[in-house]
């Protein structure tokens, strides 16, 4: 087995390491970059606890090889707010509307919400429920998560756009 050198830009910082080709992106993020906000909640690509933004798309980092992410730009929960000590409007909404209990699913939920709200201008409750259909929560029953995402949309509207972030998101319908 030959190691492969990969370089992945995570939250604006380039990490280079020689890895086994079978290493999953989530393990690169947690063990090599040392960012443990990205979780592993299942072995079957169902739960979304491992969600990150890769080149503008929300994806499940447990089902991507680190070698596949070579040269790509990744945003994890740690990189969402660029201002130390200040929560991103989506994170703040989850706090204000009690969008979490144990918190295990939360980083994935927040990143999927961020992706949805940046991709689409005005989202309905149906859009929200559809967008988080690949993120499972064992605690909240989802109602407070949907409330949080609606609140996040209002927060983002009030703050007048998303320019602060410098996190490009692929636009879509």
């Amino acid at each position: 087995m030959t190691g492969k050198e990969v370089s992945i830009t995570i939250n604006g910082e380039k990490k280079t390491a020689e890895v086994e080709p079978r290493m999953l992106l989530v393990h690169f993020i947690r063990e090599i970059a040392g960012l443990t906000g990205t979780h592993v909640g299942c072995d079957t690509t169902n739960c979304g606890a491992c969600t990150v933004i890769m080149d503008g798309r929300a994806v499940k980092s447990c089902t991507i090889l680190a070698v596949q992410a070579d040269g790509k730009k990744i945003t994890t929960i740690e990189g969402l707010s660029r201002t130390p000590g200040k929560l991103h409007p989506v994170q703040k909404a989850f706090v204000d509307k009690h969008g979490l209990q144990c918190g295990y699913c939360t980083s994935g939920m927040v990143l999927t919400s961020f992706w949805l709200l940046n991709r689409k201008k005005k989202v309905s409750e149906e859009d929200i429920r559809e967008a988080i259909s690949g993120n499972l929560c064992r605690c909240t029953g989802y109602e407070s998560i949907v409330d949080s995402i609606e609140e996040a949309q209002r927060n983002l509207e009030k703050e007048g756009g998303y320019t602060e972030e410098e996190i490009p998101v692929r636009r879509g319908r």
């Binding site: 999953l24 798309r57 596949q68």
Partner: protein
């Protein structure tokens, strides 16, 4: 779990992919979006000593429209189709399938080519391609070869692709005026594959069917098209009894197996209902009711 160890290649050209497939034979497999393959590796259902990724090839992701066809690069991710105006306008049947395929995060990685090449009877896009009468382009050592969707699906996880062939393009004909289609999927929970799926594409003249494509998902060893039901519909106009009889033919030709999703009888009941729904939608969308 970690996948079993493998060597990884990401060449920049299709010809190099073919070279590697020839060199390593059955020990090698193509990796596209990985959304079927990586779960199989992680659960150690399969082991692949040599993985050859298509992600280094620049020009396999595109959607181009011409007056008689829409051409889709094999590495186009599902969500790019889902957000494409061309696809939305031309193929409502495909939009139905995409919006229910896996979940939005899986659709951000999974590719159209992978969905078709995998040969999984539960994948949703094969039935849609059968109903739309698409053609696939495979590139091998000797150059390109066109394979009709209807000749492509052979058996469970077996397609007409040779081991050293790469699916490069999906070409869907433009269905003329007064045509429309629908895909209805019955699933238990979003992240599950379907219990059954039914794809119907129709073209009408003066309200009567002149061309039909009907195919089903998860109801046999492979995605199956049902020519008997297509023939039955020719010349018919919308009527409750027509869609009921066409659906009966589809059910009769289906070959479901019992599993944790349900018994054969249960699955056939579901198939009847969703096929009637897809037929009704297709008639409505083609202006026939």
């Amino acid at each position: 779990m970690m996948p079993p160890a493998f060597e990884y290649y990401a060449p920049t050209g299709v010809d190099e992919v073919i070279d590697l497939l020839e060199k390593y034979g059955d020990d090698a497999k193509i990796l596209a979006g990985g959304q079927s393959l990586i779960p199989l590796l992680k659960s150690r259902i399969t082991a692949i000593p040599y993985l050859i990724s298509l992600s280094g090839i620049k020009d396999l992701s595109y959607i181009t429209e011409s007056s008689n066809a829409t051409r889709i690069g094999a590495m186009t991710v599902d969500s790019d189709l889902e957000y494409s105006d061309t696809i939305r306008k031309r193929y409502p049947i495909l939009m139905d399938a995409l919006s229910k395929l896996a979940d939005p995060l899986v659709r951000n990685m999974g590719t159209v080519g992978g969905n078709i090449s995998h040969g999984d009877p539960s994948n949703d896009l094969p039935a849609v391609m059968l109903a739309l009468k698409a053609t696939f382009v495979a590139r091998g050592r000797g150059g390109n070869r066109n394979i009709k969707a209807r000749d492509f699906f052979i058996d469970t996880f077996t397609t007409a692709l040779e081991h050293d062939e790469v699916l490069t393009e999906i070409s869907i004909p433009v269905w003329k005026e007064h045509s429309g289609g629908s895909y209805v999927k019955f699933e238990k929970g979003t992240w599950n594959f379907s219990v059954a799926g039914s794809a119907v594409q129709l073209r009408l003249e003066n309200g009567a069917v002149v061309e039909a494509g009907i195919a089903i998902t998860s109801m046999g060893p492979k995605a199956m098209y049902i020519p008997e039901a297509e023939d039955y519909l020719l010349g018919k106009k919308f009527h409750k009894s027509v869609i009921s009889e066409a659906a009966d033919i589809v059910v009769e030709k289906s070959q479901p197996s019992p599993d944790t999703y349900g018994s054969v009888e249960y699955k056939k009941n579901i198939l009847k209902r969703i096929t009637m729904e897809a037929l009704e939608n297709a008639f409505r969308r083609s202006g026939g009711m």
